[in-house]
Symmetry: C2
Subunit: 107 residues, 2 copies
DNA sequence: TGTACATTTGGTAATTTAACCAAATGACCA
DNA sequence: TGGTCATTTGGTTAAATTACCAAATGTACA
């Protein structure tokens, strides 16, 4: 694997790393529906505001969301909604794993 | 976020975490083309065999690949090829980020 | 049986991640 | 201006991740 190829995979991995946390996946799902400010998201998620803010900055650094200040609040929205198309396939992996597990425990 | 919902997002995050490493993304791309054994993958990737083996076990634990022993070799293949459909959207995020970066550095 | 090859597993050190608290910054309004 | 709400940033700690080396396990074959 040459260094150029490696850099390309690293760029992809950066995006996936940003998605790879349950709180951030929840945020993505919420933003798919509508813009939300940090305080709204914080209320939905059971965590400190600073924790939610940091999750949002991870998503922002990956280019997955953008923010807009309105009054004292900062609203976040998805930059690339296609990102949620992926979850269908993720779900099918989860379902397949569950079925495999079922089949194994039957014995 | 109730505990059931949280568990669902954690299940998704587990899959994404398994994908979130440049070496594992490379492996996924290779396996999309054809089955490969650990030694073939190790030769393509510049890393120790044990490192590659551990990456494969991460993918296996997530249910993304399955293995089959043939002679002394273990061949890996994708369980759910749809996983690669996602990369198109990931690329579009990367491209958008690059364009944004260009626009910013122009000033 | 002995040797070589393929793979996995265990151990260690360095790095990254994530959560919370506390403090700083910024906006709004009485 | 002073107070309050919204958000971000810095600091600390605990846990997870990754890479490599060394050693164990399994397969094939002379």
């Amino acid at each position: 694997m040459d260094s150029k190829t490696k850099a390309q995979y690293e760029a992809r991995a950066k995006i996936l790393k940003a998605l790879a946390h349950h709180t951030r996946l929840f945020i993505i799902d919420q933003l798919k529906r509508e813009k939300r400010c940090v305080c709204e998201l914080t209320e939905m998620i059971n965590a400190d505001t600073s924790t939610v803010s940091k999750h949002l900055s991870v998503l922002r650094n990956a280019g997955l969301v953008k923010d807009e200040k309105i009054g004292a609040s900062v609203y976040y929205e998805l930059t690339t909604p296609c990102i949620t198309n992926f979850f269908g396939c993720v779900e099918s992996v989860i379902k397949a794993n569950a079925e495999l597990q079922m089949a194994l425990t039957e014995n």
